[in-house]
Structures are given as structure tokens and as C-alpha cells.
Symmetry: C2
Subunit: 225 residues, 2 copies
């Protein structure tokens, strides 16, 4: 018997890898994506491909309006920085409380499905300094989630937040995904892609991705401008 898991799928390199890992580990994948006012809707086309590689039972896209609050270069008219990664500060591409909001919708769907497992592609090494990508954040979210739902109150079942990439380098993630059949050419990491999905090659996300392919000793299949 397989178990249902909600997998957050953005269309990026990390969540693509997480989706195929969830499938490899025997879960029935319920892929969840968001239309959240991000500048690049091409991400959602990539998310649909990822869901299909992972054999997703269902792929839902939920509309939420993160632009309602502003505060990020990914949802506002703020320029995406292209001068390199500065590990000492939290960059303007940080979207306030994004992972907290995404996990909360995943929790709602998990409860309706009767699923005890949620997968998220956060990574503590190549994480660009976002506070909601740290292991202590995820552990705390899991503790909260176990108190938040009917499941936790009415049974001994305990919700698990899986972050299988948390300690992996970008190179290790890429190697794992290639073994499990991810076509990284179809994934989008860039913070500022063109309308047809070509990457800028200069933002933090592009730099981390390029370094990952180089470190893995694998050709980078990304289409750049």
C-alpha cells in the first residue's frame, strides 16, 4: 500500500528533484503549486511537467495574492539583483512568509486527503539566506502543524514535513535528480526569466544553478538569453 504525500512543486530545480524523490520513496504524489503574483508564469508550465514525471495523482494550482502585501523583488516592481550572491544579508528576492503560507495550504490539502506527509524542496546550504529555509524553522513548523489539525487531535498519526534536500549541495541535488529522470532543461530557477522561459544567467538563482551543474560535472541544459 502506498501513502499519499502533498509535494510543493514550483517548477524549479529543487522541487523537481523533491517530487521524484517522493515518488521513489513510495509515496503517491499530490503536487501543489501556486499562482502567487510571481513575475514569471512559465514556472507553472514547468511545474506541470514535474508533476507528470513524478506520476502525480493530482496537480492543483492555488491562486493566492502575495502582491497584496508587497515587499519582494519577485512580486513587486523592484529590480532583481544581478551582481552576485551576498551570503551575509537576506536578499530582496525574499518573499515575506512565503514558505509558511505555502506549507499552510499543503497542510490544509493533506488534512482533506488524510495524508500525513508533506514534501518541500528547501535547502540549507545553497539557500540564498532565506530564514524560512533553515532546519530549525522546518522543525518548528512541523511541531505547530501537529497541533493544528483534526488528525493530530483525534489520532496518533503525526504529520511529517520532509525536506530531503536540506543538507545536499546543489551538485548533489542535480546528480540525484538525473538518476531519477529529471529533465532539468524543463525546470526554471531564474528570478527574471523571459516570457518564453529563458534564464537571465545573472541573478542569484541562476548563479547557484550554474555553479551546481559545474560542481556536478554535468552540462548545464538551461536555455539562457
Amino acid at each position: 500500500m502506498t501513502r499519499a504525500a502533498v509535494v510543493l512543486v514550483s517548477g524549479g530545480l529543487d522541487s523537481a528533484t523533491v517530487a521524484v524523490i517522493a515518488r521513489r520513496d513510495g509515496f503517491d504524489v499530490y503536487a501543489l503549486s501556486f499562482r502567487y503574483g510571481q513575475r514569471h508564469a512559465v514556472e507553472l508550465d514547468a511545474a506541470a511537467k514535474v508533476a507528470s514525471w513524478a506520476g502525480a495523482v493530482e496537480h492543483r494550482i492555488v491562486d493566492i495574492d502575495l502582491r497584496a502585501f508587497g515587499g519582494s523583488a519577485l512580486t513587486d516592481d523592484i529590480d532583481v539583483p544581478k551582481s552576485g550572491v551576498d551570503p551575509s544579508t537576506i536578499p530582496v528576492t525574499y518573499v515575506p512568509a512565503r514558505n509558511t503560507i505555502f506549507l499552510s495550504f499543503a497542510l490544509a490539502w493533506a488534512e482533506v486527503l488524510g495524508a500525513d506527509d508533506i514534501f518541500i524542496g528547501v535547502n540549507a546550504l545553497d539557500y540564498s539566506g532565506y530564514p524560512d529555509c533553515r532546519p530549525e524553522y522546518l522543525a518548528s513548523y512541523q511541531a505547530m502543524a501537529r497541533l493544528a489539525t483534526k488528525t493530530g487531535v483525534e489520532s496518533d498519526r503525526a504529520l511529517q514535513i520532509h525536506a530531503p534536500l536540506i543538507d545536499m549541495t546543489k551538485a548533489e541535488i542535480i546528480r540525484a535528480g538525473l538518476e531519477l529522470g529529471v529533465d532539468y532543461a524543463a525546470t526554471i530557477s531564474c528570478y527574471d526569466p523571459t516570457g518564453d522561459g529563458r534564464a537571465c544567467g545573472e541573478c542569484d538563482a541562476c548563479r547557484l544553478r550554474q555553479k551546481g551543474f559545474a560542481d556536478a560535472g554535468v552540462d548545464d541544459p538551461t536555455r539562457y538569453v
Copy 2:
């Protein structure tokens, strides 16, 4: 100097009282409501009135689609039960992870505003048995929220989740609100109101509200069908 606080305002009796309490306690109120597929949009008209009593600096209404997952009589075509409150089970009016989702949007707005305070009108006594209305849930949410944001990482500031009604009976809440100028006739608690805002008088929320006015020794101003 006053401080900014995000206050979750549903248009019901409890959150109306919380909003005026936040104002009394010296906060600048930023009222946050949701259009979440609830059956009764009249709630949002009530929320706008509450925001104005509380002198809100701003009132934002965020669209989110909780119907995407289903699982509740408040968002689906499930009948609202009207045969009385059964304190031993979680009722079908429970919306999966609703408070977790609402608090997560409040957290995002608080971070953008630079606010360290969030108010929510949950109540552990007359709470209908919802898991996400318990004090241990709120404490756990606060711990998670402090790890989730830039504020927690870059400064000594610590986010506070305020639930001033948590230990109050419905009668105590009503008395407190009346002293602070709440017009409860304009608030809506009913799970199944008519289109023009009249309450059914028979659902759990109506029964708890009626009992509250009776216990407080105050005339119930609610318009019933």
C-alpha cells in the same frame, strides 16, 4: 508612539471585540480579512464596519481559495448542522488549517509593515472543538513565526500572537465589547445566514452567541430569520 498590529477581522462577534481591544491597548490596527469561498459574503461588510470602529489605518481583504481543497460545511455543499453543539467531536464546520493559513498571511503583512504584533479572536472555552483554537496551538505558531521571518533573524524583535479572548466566556467577551463600543447588531456569527445578513438561529455559532447574550444579561441585537 503607537505600534502597528495586524488584526484578523472576520466580521464575527469575537474578532470585532479583539479589534477594539487592540485599539484600546494602544495599537495602530491594520485589519486583515479574507474572501475564502465562505458561503456568506455579508461577513465582509461586517468586517469593514469592525475595521472602522477600531480606527483601522488600513483594511485589506485577501482572496484565497479554500474551496480548492474542500472538506468543510462552510466552504462546500455540506449541510450546516443545526441540532445542537456536541463538544466531543470536531464539527463539519471546521475548515482544514484555516487559522494556520490566516495567521500566515497576517505574518507576511506584519513583516512588510515592520509590525511585531498579530491579534486573533480565538477562544478556548466556547470554541466548538476546533484544534486550531487551542492555547498550545497558538504558542506553537508563535514559536514557528519567530523563526520564519527576516525580523526574527536580523534583530532581537520577537513576534507576538495576541489572543486576548482565549480564556474568556462568550458573556465576558460581549460585556468587554459593549464597553468599547462594539455594535454587535452589525456583526455576523451565523454559519448559514441569509443574503441580507439575518442569522439562522440554529447552527452552533448562533447557539453559542445566543447563550452568550443570555449569560451576559444583555438583549441579543442579532437579526434572526
